[in-house]
Symmetry: C2
Subunit: 321 residues, 2 copies
């Protein structure tokens, strides 16, 4: 029995990542209806917008879904009030200290709290804080990342060797083969972001979806480490940031250059050059826009196919000289 | 039948990476005697030193072994002459264009030529140049890396989807579980570096081996991108490099700061602060110094154990609500 399926009452241990401007009620409910766990990404939502998405998600699925809340969000108290009031049962927290919210959420009726980490050290903190599972997110992931740059291949053995609660792997996972690889490294589930950006139900702008499905290797880079590290597509805005770094820009000037609403302008409004476009390295392997249910079915098919393939491996019949 | 075992007449599709100051004839022959493929790392050797290592390696093992030669090496012509004269049958090339040497080596009697790449684009070039296999090396690897920072999780599906020749995964692999993960992502073999640095037969200084086996997450970083990108331990020399970057040092000044013999001073002579210490991120999970044969046996045991574990995974008996 898979512990992630047990925790979330899902059919498949796949979680759709909460992603700003991409994962509203439409994507989250489609994922949950397909047997995985959908998350509403609260990071880009004003409190009343989040409430609206939760209400619509409840109407659109009978299955469990969750909300991802970055703990650095200024309206954090208000967002937490709303998830409690609306009876959300699953909350994923990220970008902050899990000790500050996990117990409070549990006391207020949130049944499952999961924290996103990028190191074994923070995985331990999350476990100690009472989290039910953790997401171990590697350097290759889109969105916000750790400063230590530990990749999924290296992070998973560290984290699964450190905590007893189940670990969801994130970063680099857009196929069932990658899901199997994550399981080989000790994960019991996966959190998938980029693949769901390129879904029919994603609220990303069509131009962003097209951009994501035409990216090549090396066309994203982790940057803005002085603010919050984020993996971005190398567009005009990225080049402005690079030029600013070359001029030894201060942290304050960098924040000013980023300004407000950059991510919205890019991912939601479709400005591919001036916007901040967040996506994972694995986008270089994503070539089509599918429905959420097609993505999940395909991943599960690929998972079993890869499992069958590796099950046949044996090194006994070699021509060792 | 595993294609890597077929190519190299090995028992296990594990290649010990050619690593400067760590992999001489002692390590290479021990690895080959244990059923994997040992490589002499020519990158740190003067031509006559390389010849000596090849001669000793031939005396120490009846099994196939190879030589790794970085193509940017100034004495490259001389090194190639020596591998041909000494009847070496397997050459791994890296850090350069595979088109310049692959055919020449084959014409001169080298049976197997393998090239190390960090992108699908160069994997294709290596295949077109006539290489028998490629090593796909991710961002997390120690030593010299690509500028594009593609991680093993993302690089493997790209590369295995691009070339028909077999792919060896490198970067982040120090266990049999990681080996299985690499196979799930399409690799047919693995190249292992850091784990063999911490071997009894490695020629690394004992202080370096101890350093490697006590590293924590986040204690290495890819740097010196303007020269040749290299993943280094964050020691005093690394901090000097960081300080120099903060002062906008020129490429020439950077080369001067690096100077000559930095890597030797650190990895071979044991100066842990002034030396350049190259190692992969996965060192954070390596905690003991074993013999080469113990490392290989352990990896194979872990591989079968992980294979058995994933073979039991099924998502049919869930409590989907």
């Amino acid at each position: 029995m898979n512990r992630i399926n047990q925790l979330f009452h899902t059919k498949y241990p796949i979680v759709q990542a909460g992603m700003i401007w991409c994962s509203g009620w439409r994507l989250a409910s489609a994922v949950s209806n397909a047997g995985a766990l959908g998350l509403i990404g609260a990071g880009s939502m004003y409190p009343q917008v989040l409430r609206e998405h939760i209400v619509k998600c409840k109407a659109a699925t009978q299955h469990p879904f969750g909300v991802n809340i970055p703990l650095l969000y200024p309206d954090i108290e208000k967002l937490m009030e709303i998830v409690v009031e609306e009876g959300v049962k699953i909350v994923f927290t990220s970008a902050g200290n899990p000790a500050s919210w996990t117990r409070i959420l549990k006391e207020r009726g949130i049944e499952r709290v999961v924290h996103v980490v990028s190191s074994a050290k923070f995985a331990k903190k999350a476990e100690d804080a009472g989290c039910d599972a953790i997401v171990a997110e590697g350097f290759e992931a889109g969105g916000h990342n750790g400063r230590e740059e530990t990749t999924t291949f290296c992070l998973l053995p560290s984290v699964t060797g450190t905590v007893k609660i189940p670990v969801l792997a994130a970063g680099g996972i857009a196929s069932g083969a990658a899901m199997l690889a994550a399981f080989a490294l000790g994960a019991e589930g996966v959190q998938v972001g980029s693949r769901f950006v390129a879904s029919i139900e994603s609220s990303a702008h069509d131009l962003f979806k097209q951009k994501v499905t035409s990216l090549n290797e090396g066309e994203t880079q982790l940057t803005l480490k002085e603010l919050t590290p984020v993996r971005m597509i190398k567009n005009e805005f990225f080049r402005e940031v690079e030029a600013a770094y070359a001029e030894k820009i201060s942290k304050e000037e960098l924040a000013k250059l980023l300004g407000r609403g950059r991510a919205k302008r890019g991912m939601f409004e479709g400005n591919m050059e001036e916007g901040e476009l967040e996506i994972g390295q694995i986008a270089a392997t994503i070539r089509n826009i599918l429905s959420a249910s097609e993505i999940i079915e395909q991943m599960i098919d690929e998972f079993y196919e890869a499992k069958k393939k590796v099950s046949l491996i044996s090194f006994t019949s070699s021509n060792f000289q």
